[in-house]
């Protein structure tokens, strides 16, 4: 313990003369990180040039070009800028012209595949319409049969008066429905006429669509 205490006052614990420094010399203090670009004692020579190297440089440039054009170069999606410009349509990305590349899914894990079919389900309100019509279809054939009967009954009006009433009721119902449809359509058209400016000016290019395809289990939207 005593030895340690005595050693303190003398400055350095080692004999600095052995390192080639004089007694009075002050050691340079290190208070900052080394310079970003350390000074060089010799200027480096320019890289050697020969025909092989030149050829390889050309090869490299060509390679870079073809890699940029290749479908493996994944581009960032176009960011929405401050305003939409007409010229944006003609601005091409690095490889927008490249053909689309579809990996051979025999060699890739299936989870990397984008699920297209599910997307279609999500967009399609059509299947439901069809289903609705299919339920109507037998009604129509029945209706036709009924109409035939009506015709027949008109030819001999005395017979089957009860049925006639019934069928007429059915026809009326159908007619009412048809009229309703027509009304709806007309209403739609009016809507369009009134609000054309807004509707036509709004254009969704579909870029933002399908980003959240994980939660498309909710079923079709109405």
């Amino acid at each position: 313990m005593a030895g340690r205490g005595r050693g303190r006052g003398r400055g350095l614990s080692i004999n600095i003369e052995a390192l080639g420094l004089g007694r009075g010399e002050v050691l340079p203090s290190v208070a900052q990180p080394p310079p970003l670009y350390p000074p060089l004692f010799f200027r480096p020579l320019p890289p050697a040039r020969n025909s092989d190297l030149d050829y390889m440089v050309a090869l490299r440039q060509e390679l870079r070009f073809s890699l940029h054009k290749s479908p493996y170069y994944v581009n960032a999606p176009h960011k929405a800028k401050d305003i939409e410009r007409y010229s944006d349509k003609y601005m091409l990305g690095a490889n927008d012209g490249a053909q689309k590349w579809e990996p051979d899914w025999n060699m890739f894990p299936a989870e990397l595949q984008e699920k297209r079919k599910r997307k279609l389900k999500a967009t399609g309100a059509k299947p439901n319409l069809k289903a609705a019509r299919q339920t109507k279809a037998p009604d129509v054939s029945q209706l036709l049969e009924k109409l035939e009967k009506v015709d027949e009954s008109r030819e001999n009006p005395d017979d089957e008066g009860n049925e006639n009433e019934e069928t007429e009721e059915g026809v009326k119902k159908e007619k009412n429905e048809d009229e309703d449809d027509e009304e709806e359509e007309e209403y739609d058209e009016e809507d369009l006429e009134e609000e054309t400016d807004y509707n036509l000016a709004y254009f969704d290019n579909g870029e933002g669509y399908g980003d959240d395809d994980e939660d498309d289990d909710e079923g079709p939207t109405y």
Binding site: N15, G20, P46, V57, P103, E114
Partner: protein, 535 residues
């Protein structure tokens, strides 16, 4: 894995495949095997883009995948596969010098595509060759597909291209992991007719592939021939470039040119013959080639360079005595020694360029004597003490030289301690490798800046060139001149400057790639014996 290496990897990925792929790739490099959801979470990017980027990376043989215990597919990246991109031009050039233009185009196509069916690659090569023939207007008849097919099988025989690893599937036929190859020979199975079908891979159904159970193949690994037959049906129809064979070739080439420099051209021919002979006999990872007999070498010499037994004997003696032990008397060539010598010469060059010839003299003393005291270094290198000390300390400060303390007494007092200067080759080459990574990344950043600064000018030049080339047909000289003058004189000067600068930068990138190759070869060769022992 060092930070600097990753930095270089990032730059390379960015340049080759864009920012998104670079982000995904770097996230994979920083973390070991990662499942898809984790990658998406870490990169904070849209799932669609991450998937796309992963596909790109797998296609380029950078990322591999396997199933973990809980059934998730994990992806992992390889930094070395990325760094290979630094040497792409070397590979292409090598293929050209070895097997001609067709091989060059084939290798280039495979490098750009990452992996491709042989049929596609051959078709594209044929198309390109014929196009260039048509452009040059020469009278050579069109190149047929069979010619290129032959070239492809030559490349396979030379092991420069190989089959990709096939994939493993689970019971439902889903792809779950890359196949680990049991038998490397399978990868070099020569191409069959079905390999040349255009879409051989996609046509085969999953069921067809899983017909031959993998276990069966596993059992038969001992019997190469029979498993070859089995694997034929299941072998991957995708092909890629075998970079390791290229690396072997580069190493051999470096050895040959070193011999040519130390002795003479004829000695290098002897060396070339020896290496060619051993190439077929030696396991690629062995540090020492197979033993070669005197008569074997003599008979295998190329016809026009045959020498008498006497002369040959002298050359072999010369080789074994002068070349740092490249060749030993038993008649083998020692790759490890050769690579070490190459690495030393690389380090010496760096010392020469950084510290001058006097420092190099001291460094050589240190290398030769292993452990040297300061006074001895000064004495043996015959330099004035003050200058020598300064240089020695400078090298010490920059970690080219290390110091060992050997104290006579337990108190480590300087007066009673020996200070031995020495060179730890492995450590120095590791440090230099790091510096090379840093330098390569810096050069790339610098070049990109150079290009982006002058983007407007370069675009303009491109447009003007496009207009002129479209005018060529009508050959309107006046119009052409007018358009040419759209690029002003000062602009042209600036363009020339930019072109020169980027060319210099690119050349240095290539040279750095070569230095990195030699340093890595040395470091890998020192590591290998340990792994062999583990087995």
């Amino acid at each position: 894995m060092s930070r600097l290496k990753f930095e270089l990897c990032e730059q390379l990925l960015k340049e080759c495949y864009g920012d998104i792929v670079a982000t995904v790739g770097m996230s994979l490099l920083h973390n070991k095997a990662t499942p898809l959801a984790m990658i998406i979470h870490r990169t904070k990017m849209e799932a669609k883009q991450v998937k796309q980027a992963l596909c790109s990376l797998i296609q380029q043989n950078i990322v591999t995948f396997h199933q973990n215990n809980s059934g998730l597919i994990e992806y992992s990246g390889s930094a070395d596969a990325i760094l290979c991109r630094l040497r792409f031009p070397h590979y292409i050039h090598c293929a050209k010098t070895l097997f001609g233009d067709a091989a060059e185009l084939l290798v280039e196509e495979l490098l750009v595509q990452g992996r491709s069916t042989l049929g596609d690659a051959v078709n594209k090569t044929v198309y390109k060759l014929n196009e260039s023939l048509a452009a040059s207007g020469s009278s050579i008849p069109e190149i047929s597909q069979n010619l290129i097919k032959d070239k492809a099988s030559i490349l396979v025989k030379a092991r420069l291209i190989r089959r990709c690893e096939d994939v493993c599937r689970d019971k439902d036929g889903k792809v779950i992991s890359m196949n680990v190859t049991f038998n490397p020979e399978l990868l070099f199975d020569s191409p069959r007719e079905h390999d040349y079908e255009r879409t051989a891979g996609s046509k085969r159904s999953a069921a067809e592939i899983s017909e031959v159970p993998l276990k069966k193949v596993k059992l038969e690994t001992g019997d190469a021939a029979s498993s070859l037959g089995k694997q034929n049906d299941t072998g991957s129809s995708y092909w890629c470039v075998n970079v390791h064979q290229f690396h072997h070739h580069f190493r051999d080439q470096a050895i040959i040119s070193a011999v040519a420099k130390i002795i003479d051209q004829k000695a290098s021919e002897v060396m070339r013959t020896m290496l060619r002979l051993s190439e077929t006999k030696t396991v690629p990872t062995d540090p020492i080639s197979a033993h070669l007999s005197f008569t074997e070498i003599c008979t295998a010499m190329p016809k026009d360079k045959i020498m008498t037994n006497n002369v040959m004997d002298q050359y072999l003696k010369c080789l074994s005595e002068n070349c740092c032990g490249f060749v030993t008397r038993i008649g083998e060539s020692d790759f490890f020694k050769a690579v070490e010598a190459l690495c030393i010469s690389e380090i010496e060059t760096i010392i020469l360029e950084r510290f001058g010839s006097k420092a190099l003299r001291m460094y050589r003393v240190l290398l030769a004597e292993k452990q040297v005291e300061q006074e001895q270094v000064v004495e043996k290198s015959m330099l004035p003490p003050k200058e020598a000390k300064e240089l020695l300390y400078r090298m010490f400060a920059e970690n080219f030289v290390t110091l060992t303390e050997l104290s006579k007494a337990p108190d480590h007092a300087p007066a009673r301690t020996f200070y031995f200067f020495n060179v730890n080759l492995l450590q120095v080459s590791r440090m230099l490798l790091e510096k090379c990574y840093k330098a390569a990344a810096n050069v790339m950043v610098r070049r990109q800046k150079c290009i982006s600064e002058n983007k407007r000018l370069l675009d303009k030049q491109e447009r003007v060139d496009a207009i002129i080339s479209s005018l060529d047909v009508e050959s309107a000289a006046e119009q052409k001149e007018e358009i040419e003058q759209m690029v002003t004189l000062s602009e042209r000067k600036q363009l020339k400057k930019v072109g020169e600068a980027s060319k210099v930068l690119e050349t240095s990138e290539l040279l750095l790639g070569h230095t990195i190759f030699i340093l890595e070869a040395f470091i890998n060769s020192t590591v290998r014996p340990v792994t062999v022992l583990k087995k």
